[in-house]
Symmetry: C2
Subunit: 234 residues, 2 copies
């Protein structure tokens, strides 16, 4: 696998797909800032608000670094466009949903941020090195968020409301992973990240999360049961 | 001046005034999180949003530390009450105003956060050491915020809109400083922080800020011109 060490070395035919992947991720990160920000004020305790502040600050920093990478490609219009997206016009459907309850905040972190982490672990092997380096850095912070959310879920008072949130968000994580199937698999293979669009990868994510859900004392979920509305299953 | 090194050593007659000062400050810090949070998403650039994230995270952390100090006093009800305050029911009037425009965000930092910094410099000399130590830590972070805001003001495109925000916020900073005059001056003297309620202190704040306003290329402001509505001038 030939490494691409900087933007200038990117072959013309791979340029657009790299830009697409980066902008999908940048929008996902910045949307999380929007989705979580009401909880800086409304999370149950000051400790919980501090977690939200850490998460928001991390995701904003990730978004910022991804936008800088887009600038290296000269994609200034895309940078401006991404900064102006808001709930309802974000690229991933999961980024267009508000977090109404504290259970949504915890479960979104545990499931959706986690699905994003699974994708980062693939992007870490990308032959375009600026992106693989960035993915490595992001992984550490995302792992901390997910650990926090698991501890919250373990000791949560109202298990029934958490189960509702798990039922709601797991299908949406799967939908998010399916949205990447619009990317060209041959080009992904050239970048060493074709796993992103493999059914095995998605199946493995569902299986692992469901095991963790059971270990935390909740019921496992069939994500496809509620997932017939806007996914072209491939 | 006798030092009070921990909560147990606080004389009964000074207990309530210390709790009052801490809760005023904790509410001020947490209100700032509420006032600034929309700008995590809406600040003009990703860099500006990163500044907002830093400020929000700092103020939340300050609020959290102050609430821990209230817990040391056993004031759990007050801790719960402060965490539940929102725009409209905050203790300082300046904390009840939303930040509608980006100019408000910058100028609020430069003027209101700055007025809070002036107060912290007094609290640093408080004979109740847990509060004076905390004030010392807070000062460094507040100074960074204010430096950022000054740099923004220096290079701001639309000077006219900034002047409007300066006209609006300086009287409100003075109002905030006057609100502390409800505290008992004799007890403040016992704590070595009676400067908080001295006219000289407020006059000096106005003079210094007005000099900085002129140096930054804006017109100085008579804060009393718009300040007749809810201050009992002493």
């Amino acid at each position: 696998m030939q490494k691409i060490s900087n933007v200038k070395e990117v072959p013309q035919d791979l340029r657009n797909i790299i830009i697409d992947i980066i902008q999908l991720r940048a929008d996902f990160e910045l949307a999380m800032v929007e989705q979580f920000s009401p909880w800086l004020v409304n999370a149950p305790t000051a400790e919980d608000r501090l977690f939200v502040a850490k998460l928001v600050s991390d995701e904003l920093n990730h978004g910022w670094q991804l936008l800088r990478l887009l600038e290296d490609f000269g994609a200034i219009n895309i940078v401006n466009q991404i900064q102006n997206l808001r709930l309802g016009i974000h690229k991933l459907e999961v980024s267009n949903l508000p977090l109404f309850n504290w259970e949504d905040v915890i479960v979104f972190t545990f499931i959706i941020d986690n699905a994003g982490l699974y994708q980062l672990r693939i992007l870490k092997n990308c032959s375009f090195e600026p992106l693989s380096n960035l993915a490595s850095n992001l992984i550490k912070e995302e792992e901390y968020h997910i650990t926090f959310s698991k501890n919250e879920l373990k000791n949560y008072n109202n298990k029934n409301r958490v189960q509702g949130a798990l039922n709601f968000w797991l299908p949406r994580a799967v939908e998010m992973l399916y949205q990447f199937k619009t990317l060209n698999e041959t080009q992904l293979k050239d970048l060493n990240i074709s796993e992103l669009v493999k059914n095995d990868f998605i199946d493995n994510f569902i299986k692992t999360i469901n095991n963790e859900i059971k270990e935390l004392g909740y019921s496992e979920i069939d994500p496809y049961k509620n997932l017939y509305y806007n996914i072209a299953l491939k």
